[in-house]
Symmetry: C2
Subunit: 260 residues, 2 copies
């Protein structure tokens, strides 16, 4: 089932996709919502980010190739991480499918894409066992962890580098019927494939990450975890269009423009 | 005016304090709420964190003494920061006045307090000028940025170190009538003063921090910014009670216990 979020008649709504139509619901997708009579055409909707989480978790440095290349750039040997690196992002930065990524006025211009699998928590908990963890996932969506590389060097916390307004495209929807393997992430810049990798070739996978987080932290329904990216990540400039496709989920497509 | 948040009859409510009573409202304090007929006794309420923000901002390394002591511990010279260091915290960790701070089972035991001024945004915006910034603040509350020092060394993102469940006591209320100077933060452990500092002797003050954040990020009503702490910060153990008092706001008091 595919769940979308959008604005209609001045309010934010959830609905599920059925053919070309969206069936509107009352309530949140992960909280047993009730179906309403309203049907809207999917093509007519401007999609919003498919959820706004209470807390926005992001697993960092979670693919070998990405880490090896970062170590090589620093002239250091590759050392595999011994624990998950969980970070936070800010909800101000979230935009939906089709909404422009805006490069801030004083950016160096080194603004890059990072295509990521996003796990949406349906059932919360603390001390969730790795073997049970996937049953706590409601579904999956796609994120683009847009990053300003010069700010990333200067920001101890990546606050501007990864959280400037519009830097977190997400969507187009939450897909609840997903097989994690095989699964491929494909990134296209202006229609040309520029990166392709095995989505779940992670150092710490979805189940392991949920188990790790909940050793210390209670996850709640509607929380989400972005799972990191693999190399290469490349610069985008105003006028570009970037697409992140994850097989079995869909395509997240956003144009890029400069701050006016 | 003092705004509290609490649970009554199965729902979360806001109200303002009038003598010993709380006058309940419909709506959020910063969005022109309407007063209801319900009055409850303040002493009978179990207070919740006075708000749950869309995004939880935290300014780091924002006091000279705290920075100089950290540099000295690393055996490095003190270098003043050239920009604000904005971090994020997670809402799972928030607890209200009186709720116990729980030291996780596998903690090293080096769990310390950090008393902080918290600015609550009432009116959002982007590109807010420093001269206008304080007019965007709805009010102020008190935070205790509880930190596990061994995890802080190991966590690239401080995720466990600063965001384990119960590590972010906040309250007791939001005070809207506040003078930033003079203002003193006093921290007591088991009734004894262990730290006292000029609250607004910050490297980057509230107004400057709002201006810096909104160069890149849209703040929205109900966002909040924790402003950092000064030294000393000290270990707390199960059985302790920690109080953070900020003059003109109130006292945030929490007992400390071990994970059962």
């Amino acid at each position: 089932m595919r769940w979308v979020r959008y604005e209609r008649a001045g309010a934010v709504r959830f609905g599920f996709v059925h053919g070309d139509e969206v069936h509107e619901v009352a309530g949140e997708p992960w909280s047993a919502p009730s179906e309403m009579d309203t049907r809207v055409s999917l093509a007519d909707l401007k999609l919003l980010p498919p959820l706004i989480p209470p807390t926005f978790y992001a697993a960092g440095v979670n693919y070998r190739k990405h880490l090896m290349s970062a170590a090589a750039k620093r002239g250091e040997p590759y050392v595999p991480p011994v624990q998950s690196h969980i970070g936070y992002r800010a909800v101000n930065a979230l935009i939906g499918d089709g909404t422009p990524i805006v490069i801030p006025r004083d950016s160096s211009g080194r603004v890059q894409f990072e295509g990521e699998l996003v796990a949406v928590i349906g059932r919360g908990g603390r001390h969730i066992r790795e073997a049970d963890a996937l049953s706590h996932v409601f579904g999956y969506t796609i994120g683009n962890d847009v990053s300003e590389r010069e700010w990333q060097k200067a920001d101890r916390t990546f606050w501007r580098a990864k959280n400037a307004d519009t830097f977190k495209p997400m969507g187009p929807w939450i897909e609840t019927e997903v097989r994690l393997s095989p699964m491929t992430t494909t990134i296209r810049l202006n229609g040309k494939v520029v990166s392709e990798f095995d989505t779940n070739d992670m150092i710490f996978g979805v189940a392991k990450t949920i188990a790790e987080i909940t050793r210390y932290i209670t996850l709640v329904p509607g929380d989400m975890i972005w799972m990191g990216t693999d190399d290469p990540t490349l610069d985008m400039v105003a006028g570009d269009t970037v697409e992140v496709e994850i097989s079995g989920i869909g395509v997240l497509r956003n144009p890029v423009k400069g701050e006016s």
